[in-house]
Symmetry: C2
Subunit: 208 residues, 2 copies
DNA sequence: GTCGTAATGTACCATTTGGTAAAAAACAGG
DNA sequence: CCTGTTTTTTACCAAATGGTACATTACGAC
């Protein structure tokens, strides 16, 4: 079976380049020339390898979730709800301020508001943000039965609150907020957390 | 002195129509046909009355700040820092969920990330968000000398925190969050506020 | 070598983008 | 009526948009 001409570029490397452009300019703000220049390939190669702009964005989004934004999933593994949100906030700050990649968060600024052509992507991002929030809600629900969150806590409220803070921090980051500033936001935000500060476990039953 | 043909449309009404389109689709996501259709005028009339797309957006932004988003300035007039942030959060929720106009906040989603053509607008929005945050910082500074915020509070941290929450709520609103959900976010967010909850005037200063 | 296959480079496509030129139309003053 | 002024209408513009046709090139199998 003939194999054809071999591909001259690294697909995942090109995908990472595309990811960075989408990350910086958003889905609609990124043009095909932007992409081909950054990826070092020409248009037909892009279409042959990735389908079209929309599919390329979705593949970049998957790579984003499993790479730079992997902390979102990883945070869920922490033993306590408090550790979960601390992991999430710390990882978010790392992501948002890492000088090796664009400021901000692709899940938020990829297509927050846009014309009709980008509406599919906008909805996809909404859906993925909702999925993440939902995963945290479930995690906090378990934390309530585990006893490391007060029994009268509302897991949905807590998940929505930290999602709001994280998304707000993404806006702050694209506006130029520094790591130090975001860390202070996280400290303040954590004052709202049910269990109180680590040094004062006087709230309710501590162990599980 | 001859007066010329009279204008056949209401300028401020047309501006309001333009505002709503920008609000829903963002600066870059809004096309000239989008605008002229919504405003009920044709292109040369738009250019004669407003200059160009960029100037029209800036005028719509001014109108936004003095109309739908007037609560941001008004909140600063409240007598205590606590009342200021409660006013801000309540007004923000009203703005974000009012069914009479688009979901979300023009200051956030007008141009969060974009290509080169919208970069001027993006920077302008960053600057206006920063100006608002700064106004709240100054207000909280005064609250510290007034004594209605603990002396060891950091006014900049508090202002950045509530700005983060408000901007996060804007993202939540464009994602479909309801008024009830946003109200619960506000309640949770207020638990981080220095003075504590209204029912418990005992503040246990912890710092960080 | 020849053949089949798949990638590449160039050139192109229709549509949409923001922005205008120019003529027609509606008013006020004389 | 005519004249000056400003808006409206229609038509157009160059540039950029996402997406392809097509010929060329590089490989593996025979």
């Amino acid at each position: 079976m003939p194999t054809g001409r071999p591909r001259e570029f690294d697909v995942t490397k090109a995908l990472d380049r595309a990811l960075k452009v989408f990350w910086r300019k958003g889905y609609a703000g990124t043009s095909l020339p932007d992409l081909t220049k950054a990826m070092g390939i020409n248009r037909p190669s892009l279409y042959a390898a990735f389908g079209n702009k929309e599919e390329l964005f979705l593949r970049a989004l998957d790579r984003y979730s499993e790479g730079p934004a992997a902390h979102i999933r990883e945070a869920l593994q922490e033993p306590t709800a408090r550790a979960v949100v601390e992991h999430l906030l710390r990882g978010t700050i790392d992501l948002l301020t890492n000088p090796r990649h664009p400021r901000g968060c692709l899940l938020v600024q990829g297509a927050l508001s846009c014309g009709e052509t980008a509406d599919t992507i906008r909805r996809e991002l909404i859906s993925r943000r909702a999925a993440a929030e939902n995963a945290f809600r479930q995690r906090f629900e378990r934390a309530i039965t585990d006893g490391d969150l007060p029994a009268d806590s509302d897991s949905a409220d807590l998940a929505r609150y930290i999602a709001t803070v994280v998304q707000g921090m993404a806006v702050q980051a694209t506006s130029g907020a520094t790591r130090d500033e975001l860390e202070r936001v996280a400290v303040t935000a954590l004052r709202a957390w049910p269990a109180g500060e680590p040094a004062s476990p006087k709230r309710t039953a501590a162990g599980k």
